[in-house]
């Protein structure tokens, strides 16, 4: 089974009769259950096996063994769902003690679309609490381990997704990305992670961290699968006022048609500000090596400048935490979630709230305090509004640079996967891990991490690609070229 890497290969196996969705699903549950990675919070085995059985019946009987692939592009494909997305009747915790007992009464639009396309949800993947973290050390359900190096972090916040896909617990997974939460674990775990343009995929059912930045995206073993999942999930949703009414292309087709030779004439921007001191030398070499390969294939390498890059982390940590402090106001133990027994003994409502909300994890509390402060009377203009202005400047930087180039490339992170506990003592150092992924988030750009090599310890290095808003097509094309040049998925 290990050799079956992509959705197309699985579908070939279904078609040839050597595999059924039920077999595949059972196999994945075996792998998951024997794993020590702590990648999953909740498994929905019965639900998944039932989905698989229905699909297997379809496969075997209704269509005479052949399924119209066009009707169900994800027929029988087992997926992992980051535990930030709701599934009706399946516990959804957001890796928080606050939601330990929360079983949502509705399903996230993205998951509805995937399942309608034939996908099977295996369960809910571990993550940093409320998607706040870069190492997956902030989960109330314990740290997720790196897929191959047990002393290392998988990256966060979609660490469970990164490890699950890399360790073959599932064919692909959903992650969410606010400041790099898909791309960083993809880079650390050695898989493809893609964050679409803000507004591409409905956020309905994605438990909010920072509403103006959050975006769902695929984490897969290949660029082609990322393209396929993305196009199934993309599109306007009446339930999400920030989802865009912009046509969705057949990105899978784009990837299938892309050849290495298509690098010719591709204008690849290299932002100067991303190649700073402090980047691990092996990471730098790997990225520069890939840039050279692109150049060798005829790509036009263009140095560009994004002058406000140095303010990215500051800007992000004001805006994201401000929105988060607001989004997390709803966790009050009244309508859902965990209410500690002592809360009903509270003398008054104020006391009740403090007892309930005291159960957020340490990092979440830190961000709520920071965000509450940034929005509070007397500080709003100096922090929140100021950061929103700098955010505009960062976006303008990109718009100017994209006048000259089709895509841009950089490292995903300054280092490969770091050690457990290495940065957890110092929040600011941890925040700086996201220095290269945050700017694209701030501007709402589509961005992707594609594995391009390993360091001497065998830790994966991802190349970061980002494109103009709503131009996923060029991003997938460039991503596929990089994948091919790196010797990745065939």
């Amino acid at each position: 089974m290990q050799e079956l890497k992509t959705i197309r290969q699985i579908h070939d196996a279904f078609d040839s009769g050597v595999l059924t969705p039920s077999d595949l699903t059972r196999n994945y549950f075996e792998t998951i259950k024997s794993s020590q990675h702590n990648a999953w919070i909740t498994l929905c085995e019965r639900r998944a096996l039932q989905q698989a059985e229905e699909l297997t019946n379809d496969l075997t009987y209704k269509h005479g063994g052949k399924v119209p692939r066009s009707a169900l592009p994800l027929f029988g494909i087992p997926l992992g769902i980051k535990d930030v997305l709701t599934i009706d009747g399946v516990r959804t915790t957001c890796a928080s003690k606050m939601l330990d007992n929360y079983v949502p009464p509705y399903t996230a639009t993205a998951v509805v679309k995937l399942e309608a396309a034939g996908a099977i949800s295996l369960g809910k993947l571990n993550m940093d609490e409320f998607a706040m973290g870069s190492s997956n050390e902030n989960s109330a359900y314990g740290t997720v381990l790196h897929p191959t190096h047990s002393d290392r972090v998988p990256g966060g916040s979609s660490g469970g997704s990164g490890t699950a896909v890399a360790a073959d617990h599932c064919l692909a997974a959903l992650g969410t990305d606010t400041g790099g939460s898909i791309r960083l674990p993809a880079s650390f775990c050695g898989i493809v992670g893609m964050k679409p343009t803000y507004g591409r995929i409905s956020r309905y059912g994605q438990i909010a961290f920072a509403s103006s930045l959050d975006q769902i995206g695929p984490m897969t073993k290949s660029v082609e699968d990322a393209a396929l999942l993305c196009q199934v999930m993309a599109g306007v949703d009446a339930k999400d006022s920030t989802s865009a009414e912009i046509e969705v292309d057949n990105w899978q087709q784009t990837v299938l048609e892309t050849r290495v030779s298509d690098a010719k004439g591709l204008r690849v921007g290299v932002p100067q500000e991303y190649f700073i001191d402090g980047i691990d030398v092996e990471v730098r070499n790997a990225i520069e090596g890939m840039i050279q390969k692109l150049k060798d294939q005829g790509a036009e390498i263009v140095p560009v400048s994004l002058p406000h890059t140095q303010y990215a982390v500051s800007t992000y940590y004001v805006i994201a935490v401000s929105e988060a402090s607001s989004n997390l106001s709803r966790y009050d133990g009244v309508r859902f979630g965990v209410r500690p027994p002592e809360a009903m003994q509270a003398a008054n409502l104020l006391d009740f709230y403090k007892k309930v909300r005291g159960n957020f994890g340490a990092e979440v509390k830190r961000r709520i305090i920071l965000g509450t402060f940034a929005l509070s009377s007397g500080f709003y203009d100096a922090y929140y509004r100021k950061a929103a202005q700098v955010r505009r400047l960062m976006r303008t930087d990109f718009e100017n640079a994209f006048q000259k180039v089709d895509v841009m490339v950089s490292p995903v992170a300054p280092t490969t996967a770091f050690k457990l506990g290495e940065k957890s003592k110092d929040p600011l150092t941890m925040y700086l891990t996201d220095i290269f992924t945050i700017p694209a988030s701030m501007a709402g750009l589509p961005a992707m991490s594609v594995p391009v090599g390993n360091d001497h310890q065998g830790l994966s290095i991802g190349m970061h690609l980002f494109a103009p808003r709503f131009n996923e097509t060029v991003l997938f094309k460039a991503g596929r070229i990089v994948e091919l040049l790196a010797g990745g998925a065939k």
Binding site: Y198, S211, L370, K386, L393
Partner: protein, 100 residues
């Protein structure tokens, strides 16, 4: 420059309805102080006349047609929304006495 001390942390935590231990207050005063010190670099950016970017998407708000959708109910006909209630009574969400 803002002096991030324990009093400020306590005040903001009260505003956010977070119960903190004394150790947490000390830790946050220190770490948040450090983060805000870093954030101060924004003061050096000239933003005069720059329109703040508050939204992830451009353009106008889409409107929803005024249509009522049927409510989800449990097998016993009770509203499904009560399933997630930590405590409920008479089909309402139960909380400690808010007055008196």
């Amino acid at each position: 420059m803002i002096d991030v001390n324990e009093t400020l942390i306590q005040k903001v935590a009260d505003l956010a309805r977070l119960e903190l231990s004394e150790a947490e207050i000390r830790e946050y005063a220190s770490s948040i102080g450090g983060i805000l010190k870093h954030v101060e670099q924004l003061n050096s950016v000239s933003t005069e006349g720059v329109e703040p970017m508050y939204y992830g998407i451009d353009g106008s708000l889409r409107l929803r047609e005024d249509l009522v959708q049927p409510m989800a109910v449990k097998e016993d006909g009770k509203p499904r929304i009560l399933e997630t209630a930590p405590e409920s009574i008479h089909d309402g969400f139960k909380v400690p006495p808010m007055i008196g």
